[in-house]
């Protein structure tokens, strides 16, 4: 059977392209692009700046900038995330130049045209996927995992807040992490 020409084959990026074009016409449609990319962008930035507040500031700046400049984005087959990563890498480098305290300064000096290729994108995707999967955990496990990792509370603090024993919180943490491991398919 003759293979269909590439131009007639449905493109994998077609849904994303439609979303981008919709958002370019009506910025209110940007919400879906945000939902699809928030975790990976945040994971990309957090992995570099190693500081939660800085990571949040940069992520916020990035999405504001992406929204403002969306009309300039041209769909040429590269995923939308690649454009976001480029903006993120530039923002990190700029901040690194100013503060001279981030790992990003190395990226800036490396004069690599695509600095995110140096990084482990698979790890960024892995983290982004985990961040999303936390939302799918049973309520009690999700609550403990969120308090422990996002709010960085101790087991004793969580036990006090929730009203369970510390042993129960440790069990919920154990089960939550185990569930996540199963969901991502790690053995």
């Amino acid at each position: 059977m003759a293979e269909e020409p590439a131009s007639k084959r449905p493109r994998k990026d077609a849904p994303e392209r439609r979303l981008i074009e919709a958002a370019q016409r009506n910025p209110a449609c940007f919400a879906q692009l945000y939902e699809n990319n928030f975790e990976r962008v945040y994971a990309f930035i957090a992995r570099r700046v190693h500081d939660r507040d800085q990571a949040q500031d940069l992520t916020a700046d990035l999405f504001h900038s992406a929204l403002k400049n969306l009309s300039r984005f041209e769909c040429r087959g590269a995923p939308f995330a690649a454009w976001l990563f480029r903006i993120a890498a530039n923002a990190i480098a700029d901040r690194g130049k100013r503060a001279a305290q981030f790992e990003a300064i190395k990226l800036c000096e490396a004069s690599d045209p695509e600095p995110w290729r140096d990084t482990d994108l698979a790890e960024v995707e892995h983290r982004a996927r985990l961040f999303k999967l936390v939302e799918k955990l049973p309520d009690d496990q999700r609550r403990v995992i969120t308090m422990r990792f996002a709010h960085q509370k101790s087991v004793a603090e969580i036990a006090r807040d929730i009203g369970h024993s510390e042993g129960a919180i440790k069990q919920l943490q154990f089960r939550g992490l185990q569930s996540l491991r199963t969901m991502v398919g790690e053995r």
């Binding site: 209110a28 957090a46 892995h126 983290r127 961040f131 969120t146 996002a150 709010h151 069990q171 154990f174």
Partner: protein
Amino acid sequence: MKRSSKRSGRVAKRVPLAQQLDKAVDRIISDRESKLSRVNPRIAAILHIASALRDLPTDFKVRLKRDLEARVTPPSLHAAAPTQANYIPAGFHTANACLVVRDAPRDRILQGSIRRD
């Protein structure tokens, strides 16, 4: 160590996995560069997940989304948006039930002599 304790007839105190995991999670959270070399193999794989969750975002995602949505909704749209009809006249806050009796003699109503049957 385990062999020698067995030989000596002592039973080594076993720390529950959940507790071992929590200690390791503490190290992960407090020290980003911490090495997790000496952990129970049964929790090593789970710790890989824990390590990836170190930067788990808080409710920041929701806040930022609200912020972006506020930006894409021009203020003029807020002003032009149709307001919900208010069926309660301004200044009225209560509703009282009343009974209407057709053809009742006015003077007896005023005297309160009409009774409900």
